[in-house]
């Protein structure tokens, strides 16, 4: 491999296969935002502390700022853009965030929602402690966390009701 050379990778992004040529030092967030135009995923600290860049890879919440792009080959990635319905309607979790006022500047919101989704995809009836643990890696510097936790509780109840 020559330095600066690009390598083609393919993976599933929000349900559709994508092929993209990436530099070996690129992180997943670079590819999502700069090459694929998926700017819903935010970069905050770039060090895995703030969680603004959270996406779901094969069912697990990860920091896309610490995920080498080449490691995503063959995997399935879900970003905030993948949550909306076919008519652009908000998902249950997104709607709960709106209704509970769990948003102020909004920068942390996509990461918060992806962490909440990873939790609710694997746990149908989370306790408040489960929710707070799942969101521990997501920092909000505006609202505090009460409305956010309430939004996840509300979404959990609604999703459970749908089962």
């Amino acid at each position: 491999m020559e330095p600066g050379m690009k390598i083609e990778i393919s993976f599933i992004l929000n349900g559709s296969e994508v092929k993209v040529s990436v530099h070996s030092h690129h992180r997943l967030i670079d590819v999502l935002r700069e090459q694929l135009g998926q700017t819903g995923t935010k970069e905050g600290c770039g060090e895995g502390e703030c969680g603004a860049c959270t996406v779901i890879i094969d069912g697990l919440a990860v920091n896309s700022c610490l995920y080498p792009a080449l490691e995503v080959e063959g995997k399935s990635v879900t970003t905030i853009e993948g949550l909306q319905g076919p008519k652009n309607e908000l998902s249950v979790i997104q709607q709960a965030f709106v209704e509970q006022g769990a948003i102020q500047c909004g920068f942390c919101t996509p990461g918060m929602i992806m962490s909440a989704k990873a939790l609710l995809d694997s746990t149908s009836d989370p306790s408040e402690e489960d929710i707070r643990d799942a969101l521990l890696g997501n920092l909000c510097r505006c609202t505090g966390y009460v409305q956010i936790v309430e939004a996840v509780k509300k979404a959990a109840a609604q999703l459970k009701g749908k089962q």
């Binding site: 919440a61 610490l66 990873a118 799942a134 890696g137």
Partner: protein
Amino acid sequence: MKQFEYYKPLSLKEAWELKKKIPGSLFIAGGTDVLVGIKNNEIHPPALISLRSIPGLNSIDTGEVTRIGALASISDIIQNPELREDFPVLVEAAKSLGSVQIRNVATIGGNLCNCSPCADMALPLLVMEAKVRLQTAKEKREIPIDEFFKGPGESCLASHEILTDILLEPPPKNTKAVFMKKGRVKMDLAVASVAVRLDMEGNKCLKACIAAGSVAPVPLRLSKVETVLEGATLTQKHTVKAQRLAEDNVIPITDIRSTEEYRRKMTGVLVKRAVERALEWSQA
């Protein structure tokens, strides 16, 4: 991000060949420490050699001896039913490491090889007297984990050597082990952390293993504290003595996260509480 090449070998042999070919290259597991180091200009490797695609390196086998592949993620450890049953202290430490996002990617081998004095996974492995298997293209060796750490960021690994497995002997039935960690908030790196293992027969302590983190250049066994407990029928007198000796036998520093004095005090407090909890569990 500074430029680097990134390789995904499919075998250890291929990984060693790449390492030989590219001077200054680094092996990488989950990368949650290495990529931050590159971003912050602390390290400048021309290439990273990812061990993630090598089959079997992330598996966990629970037989007579438990083998944890170095590439097992922290979440893999938390979710493994056999580890939860046989080595709950390891699972407790794993739960305290970072956030969900970090635990899903970070690996047990990476946590050890990063050689931070506050490495969460080091303490339970020290008190369970784990061994680590280290391999080069030419040789394979197994060493006790307390010989692995040499200083902050320094291990006994030779430059081409890879930590491939962590090996755990089954503990005696009457073993109780506790992990405790003090951080400013739950996700923080430890200000002080402690693991205590007691092998009990009734109220008598047959064997004690105590380890402390963030209070020395390496995760540390506190043998002088262990000696106080071993062979004794444990009473409050012993736990208080253990607390005082723990304070006296750590060598913490003052840094951005805490002061030397606070770390020393907290180590004593954590040792006392952990011994008391292990005792409670053994009597339950």
